[in-house]
């Protein structure tokens, strides 16, 4: 059925960066109180070394979000390698909340816990989507590099909500190696948590000083902010039913307000894009949606 963008819900993805724990907690408290998002994902998914800082504050954050009527799910790590990390994944299924699964390790451990599928599980086609529906997934967020044509082919006959990445630096890669440590002549084991110095990740430029990528510890992201505010009609027509906003240090409450206003037909996309540009002093892109280079701006999107 053709969707109206009014029915599209907003999801706030997990914080990918290593923020000071108080800032992290207060960010979620403010989201609970003010942001028009329907679903919120919490948990450290990039680096297991950071996890002990945030876990003690999770109960307070979840309680606050739930009291505000948000649906809360725990996000599982992207890359799991050792016993300690495996145990941490296993323990996610004992908390009593739904889990967004980002790796097949978690899939094998899930028991009867309600689960959704995160963007780091490779669902590239309708056959894989149908397989996860059979397994009981309640919600699927697709990989970021998929073009609109693929999104539509996957979403049109889906029985569960299909979500796409909508705003923020796009996660592009994960590694066993920590590039934040490497850029500081440190090893991952003795990293001194240097990634905490960059709220939105560390800039990586080409030798011509062109902005290129962003490093967040073991993760590499786009330098541009993926932004689909100009593509909401196309996404609705492709049967997308949820959009993922990825937390950055900019005003995410205002960013989610702007997305909600455009989805509800109360603000036009051009005006919203201008206001988003005022929040984020970064170049916008949506090339992945159009099957071209991810860093490019296509359709009606204004480059910056």
């Amino acid at each position: 059925m053709p969707h109206s963008s009014k029915n599209i819900t907003l999801t706030l993805g997990p914080v990918l960066f290593n923020w000071p724990v108080e800032q992290w907690r207060d960010f979620y408290f403010r989201v609970a109180d003010e942001a028009p998002v329907d679903r919120v994902l919490v948990g450290e998914i990039v680096c297991s070394k950071r996890e002990p800082f945030f876990t003690p504050h999770l109960p307070d954050v979840i309680e606050r979000l739930e009291a505000a009527g948000k649906t809360v799910a725990l996000a599982s790590p992207i890359l799991v390698m050792n016993k300690r990390e495996r145990d941490a994944v296993d323990s996610l299924f004992e908390v009593g909340y739904p889990v967004e699964i980002n790796d097949t390790t978690a899939l094998q451990m899930k028991r009867d816990t309600a689960f959704s599928v995160g963007p780091f599980i490779n669902i590239y086609n309708e056959a894989a989507r149908a397989y996860f529906e059979k397994l009981g997934a309640s919600h699927i967020c697709l990989p970021g590099e998929l073009p609109l044509s693929s999104i539509e082919a996957i979403a049109k006959d889906a029985n569960v909500p299909i979500e796409v990445f909508a705003f923020g630096r796009m996660p592009l890669a994960i590694s066993a190696r920590c590039y934040h440590a490497r850029a500081n002549d440190l090893s991952k084991d003795s990293c001194r948590y240097v990634c905490s110095e960059d709220q939105d990740g560390m800039d990586v430029d080409t030798l011509d000083d062109d902005p290129f990528l962003t490093v967040n510890g073991v993760q590499t992201l786009s330098r541009t902010f993926h932004n689909v505010i100009s593509d909401l009609d196309e996404l609705a027509a492709a049967h997308v039913s949820a959009l993922r906003l990825s937390p950055h240090s900019c005003d995410m409450v205002e960013a989610s307000n702007l997305f909600r206003l455009v989805l509800d037909g109360k603000l036009d996309a051009e005006e919203a894009n201008d206001r988003l540009a005022g929040l984020v002093d970064q170049t916008f892109s949506n090339g992945f949606l159009y099957g071209t280079e991810g860093f490019k701006a296509e359709g009606n999107l204004v480059f910056s």
């Binding site: 390790t105 490779n122 996957i154 890669a173 066993a176 062109d210």
Partner: protein, 330 residues
């Protein structure tokens, strides 16, 4: 599951390379069809259905196994090429399919259940649980491990699974977890998962800039070389970039994986098979690298330390690394 040697799994991008690999002592050869169903979807490379049939006959006559890589993710709304490839594999009688896509694994398990299923490195199964999930669901018989684990981690993993393991031994080195990397599509619009290419040659340019030679991938400068400095191919993650106020090979130096020094440890760990990368490489590469690894494996299997062969000419930047197999790499 323990072995006393390693099955040598070798790349073949063309029928000529396949003959070379078989003749040089490969236990197993892997190849791909002429389309986007495999992750070396390069011009001038790969096999038609008829060539694959001839290749299988050549290999099987000499006791060599042949595997078909169907290791890209099926295009949404257009799975036909991948399903046809499974039919071709069944007709030709390949010994196993190498796959990562969950939809394709399910299709192959239902429609061609008699062909062994190997889990591609592109599925990045890095834990016993991940491996068991694919084993329980699709009865995969072998898993190609992602290049993120150390040798001791691999040894531990093997004690917890009842599936064969295959690890990379030589050649191009992904520094990002395989199958979970969109760097190439960010810069070029073409990705390993969807198009079977990474940093594709169609987007590569070399420009003279004064006395320097600059290598570009799409719009981005990946490296710049002094006069006389050897200019390498601009693989995105092996470029020179600026971060934290300094210029460096931030992700990885131009280098190739080479595990010869670790062969005794890998055998001791119970790894089943050793895979050489390089379906895109020529016949000379195949001959030399396969022969060198045949000898090194046989030496290690006899309980001796193999001498490291001189394969520098086949290495990126003329240098090698043991990559993630040693913890210090992280």
């Amino acid at each position: 599951m323990t072995t006393e040697t390693l099955e040598l799994v070798c790349p073949a991008g063309t029928p000529a390379a396949l003959h070379a690999a078989v003749d040089a002592g490969a236990d197993t050869v892997y190849c791909g069809l002429l389309d986007e169903t495999n992750a070396r979807n390069f011009p001038g490379l790969n096999f038609s259905a008829a060539e694959l049939e001839d290749a299988a006959a050549y290999a099987h006559k000499r006791g060599t196994k042949i595997l078909l890589a169907l290791n890209t993710y099926m295009r949404a709304g257009a799975p036909k090429a991948w399903y046809q490839a499974v039919d071709i594999a069944a007709h030709v009688g390949v010994d196993a399919l190498i796959m990562a896509d969950i939809g394709l694994l399910e299709h192959a398990a239902i429609h061609a259940p008699h062909i062994r299923r190997h889990l591609s490195v592109q599925a990045a199964a890095s834990t016993p649980e991940a491996v068991r999930w694919y084993k329980d669901r699709f009865d995969v018989r072998r898993v190609v491990l992602p290049r993120v684990l150390t040798v001791p981690e691999i040894a531990n993993l093997i004690t917890e699974i009842d599936v064969e393991t295959e690890v990379f031994g030589f050649g191009g080195l992904c520094v990002m977890t395989e199958g979970r990397c969109s760097l190439s599509s960010y810069a070029t619009g073409k990705s390993p998962n969807m198009n079977g290419v990474c940093s594709p040659a169609s987007h590569v340019r070399y420009e003279n800039c004064g006395s320097r030679l600059v290598s570009k991938l799409g719009d981005f400068t990946i490296n710049s070389f002094d006069e006389g400095e050897k200019a390498g191919y601009p693989t995105l993650c092996k470029g020179r970039f600026e971060a934290n106020g300094k210029i460096s090979y931030l992700f990885e130096d131009p280098t190739s994986l080479n595990v010869v020094p670790l062969l005794p440890d890998l055998i001791k760990s119970g790894v089943t098979a050793l895979k050489l990368e390089g379906r895109q490489r020529g016949r000379a590469y195949t001959e030399k690298v396969v022969s060198a690894f045949r000898e090194a494996i046989d030496t290690a299997a006899a309980g001796l330390m193999p001498t490291t062969p001189d394969l520098a000419v086949f290495m990126e930047g003329g240098k090698d690394t043991t990559g993630a197999y040693r913890k210090s790499w992280q």
